[in-house]
Symmetry: C2
């Protein structure tokens, strides 16, 4: 059944899972347990199973690698990577996904994932196996533009957060300062971006901040443009 004209190949799914942690943008990186690239850092991922849709494979891999429920966080397809020779095992095409989640502790998960760890993007860049450096760069760029045009920043936060927390997400992901005064107005003035919970968070020093949860709106019009 396999011929040369249109040959069979294996399809993998790779995940660039981003979070904001300790005021830096971090990516979930595993250390490869097997050849090829054994011992090298890489993005989590794995092969598509027989009768599985591509997003389902991404959700499954996410659960296997992090122990988390992929239906609860943001997961979007970036694109397919298929350069011949990108995988020394043979012809493998990978569909890359961008995932975004709050800063949760990584369950010291089972099988494959014992080595999963958060690593600052700046530190991971240039060190990853396969073509994962390229995937990571495109994932970060996608996340940056998503913050401009969607309310996605809230998925970096937990169930409740202050406007300052949300602003910190923008500053860390964009790598540039954002004016706190104008940012508050913009967020609060955009219907459906955030909803007040009624609670407040009292800092060690300073005025308490109102707590919010993510609103129903997903797109941002007008957008919040980077400088």
């Amino acid at each position: 059944m396999i011929d040369r004209e249109h040959s069979y190949l294996r399809l993998a799914v790779d995940l660039a899972i981003l979070t904001v942690r300790e005021d830096t943008l971090q990516v979930l990186v595993i250390t490869r347990a097997n050849e090829p690239f054994r011992g090298r850092p890489a993005l989590p991922g794995g092969f598509l199973r027989g009768d599985e849709d591509i997003p389902d494979a991404a959700v499954r891999e996410l659960a296997e690698e992090t122990g988390l429920d992929g239906n609860r966080l943001h997961l979007e397809q970036l694109r397919a990577y298929g350069a011949p020779g990108r995988d020394p095992r043979g012809r493998v095409v990978s569909v890359a996904f961008l995932a975004i989640m709050p800063d949760l502790p990584l369950p010291t998960a089972g099988s494959d994932a014992s080595s999963a760890a958060w690593v600052p993007v700046e530190q991971a860049r240039g060190t990853l196996a396969f073509d994962h450096d390229e995937i990571l760069d495109e994932a970060v760029e996608r996340a940056r533009t998503r913050l401009e045009f969607t309310t996605l920043a809230t998925t970096f936060c937990g169930p409740s957060f202050t406007i300052g927390d949300l602003r910190n997400v923008y500053e860390v992901v964009w790598g540039q300062a954002v004016d706190p005064r104008n940012f508050s107005r913009k967020v609060i003035g955009t219907p459906g971006f955030v909803e007040q919970t009624g609670e407040r968070r009292i800092p060690e020093i300073g005025r308490p901040a109102a707590l919010y949860r993510a609103g129903a709106e997903t797109s941002l019009n007008p957008p919040i443009m980077r400088g």
Copy 2:
């Protein structure tokens, strides 16, 4: 070599090739010569060859179906489509591309492509084989946002065009009127969007219009937003 855990599959490339023709947005559609969906309209495409990169496969299919040089026009990946059952022949994952080109006559091409024809998007929508209706919808939406944020509209035009021609592209792709006065100013005032050729086009009746060619800039900042 094929096991159930991570099975082999075939990878296809499908192309949503758009142009503006007779004041409508049209898509290149073929009539399928073979099963499955024999006789039904579909997007052009085909299987990836053994040692071929994915964009190369898209360029090759474009050449085979239209006789045109895919290196000269805009070609960008949309995403991978891999729902089980999307192709009755078995497990086939397709990487879809958006292509944009000027309104050129279709060479009555060779092998596969004798049935290639331009069809208005509104007319093609809902009639295509496989999941190509979904691909077409996403291609059109991508093209619409590309016009907002990039200078891509010029690739719908030939080597030289008037500002009116370019405005017509926006009106047809967006499906809404655009103010001619403000549009001129915006386009001419954006450095690198268009360059004057020095020639003019003299219409049957009316003031001659200056001719332009595409400029070097690709992104559009500030963008041209839809209403």
